[in-house]
Symmetry: C2
Subunit: 166 residues, 2 copies
């Protein structure tokens, strides 16, 4: 009887150690999300290549957002960006979205330098819309929290595609 | 009194509609993760540029994994890959990891074509280790579920860096 119980216990231990998922020494982590807090309900592209593919195939403009986790301007903008329902709804329904914490090799995405936060729009014809910019002449594609309505109005501009669909 | 109650209700409605987060018409979504089920405890790079940067700066080899959500071979491999503790621990401690569902523009990552699942190792010196391959001559970088131990042994190979650290 004792042997039988021990066998059962042993089997259970083996099963549980096989099933148990890997947990890092430093403790269990929360899986990283592609939204990084900029809109958990949006479907974010992972890479610029992927975003361009979606933009072309769905004929929707692309918003590319560069930011950094340890940049207070980025974090402040993220709060108003993620909490603005009009902005989130428009992005969800009419845009392809990509947020990046590392620069791409494509220089068209940094027309006046690599700073954060920085937002660029790309037309489905794969043209970077350098004409759609914020209010700072030394950082043309930067937006502060107070510029959220300018950003929404720039999104409306970006929705007027360069080449109308056939 | 009725007016006062109505005012309070109105204020509450306004507050809750302001605070309420955007929810798509099709219902609330689960935020997408960078792991896509291949290891929720691993710290995944988002892009190839980011992964190369981490690989160089931390002097760790990079594993790049191409897969597709609707590919049964990818899904089968994902199950054994994510449930193998030895593999997950080694990746977490000794590798930079990147999983992609869209191809990059870098042709070095598709030495014999763009198929999935496909796993390539990249040395911190930024050399794609085309010499570390699986068992199929027509798809050199493919792994089936039965090849998980070969994959682990290839990871050990990749850990022997081309250029030893100074």
């Amino acid at each position: 009887m004792v042997k039988a119980v021990l066998s059962v216990v042993l089997v259970l231990v083996v099963i549980s150690s096989t099933i148990a998922k890997y947990i890092p020494k430093t403790g269990k982590r929360i899986p990283q999300t592609l939204s990084r807090g900029w809109g958990d309900q949006l479907i974010w592209a992972q890479t610029y290549e992927e975003a361009l593919y979606w933009s072309r195939s769905r004929n929707k403009p692309l918003m590319v957002l560069f930011h950094l986790e340890d940049c207070p301007h980025s974090q402040a903008l993220k709060k108003v960006f993620s909490e603005n329902n009009e902005l989130q709804k428009t992005l969800d329904e009419d845009f392809i979205v990509l947020n990046l914490v590392y620069e791409t090799t494509d220089k068209h995405l940094s027309p006046d330098g690599q700073y954060v936060p920085r937002i660029l729009f790309v037309d489905p014809s794969m043209t970077v819309r350098a004409d759609i910019n914020g209010r700072y002449s030394n950082r043309m594609y930067a937006y502060e929290t107070a510029d959220i309505n300018l950003l929404i109005s720039n999104m409306q501009k970006a929705k007027k595609l360069l080449k109308a669909e056939l």
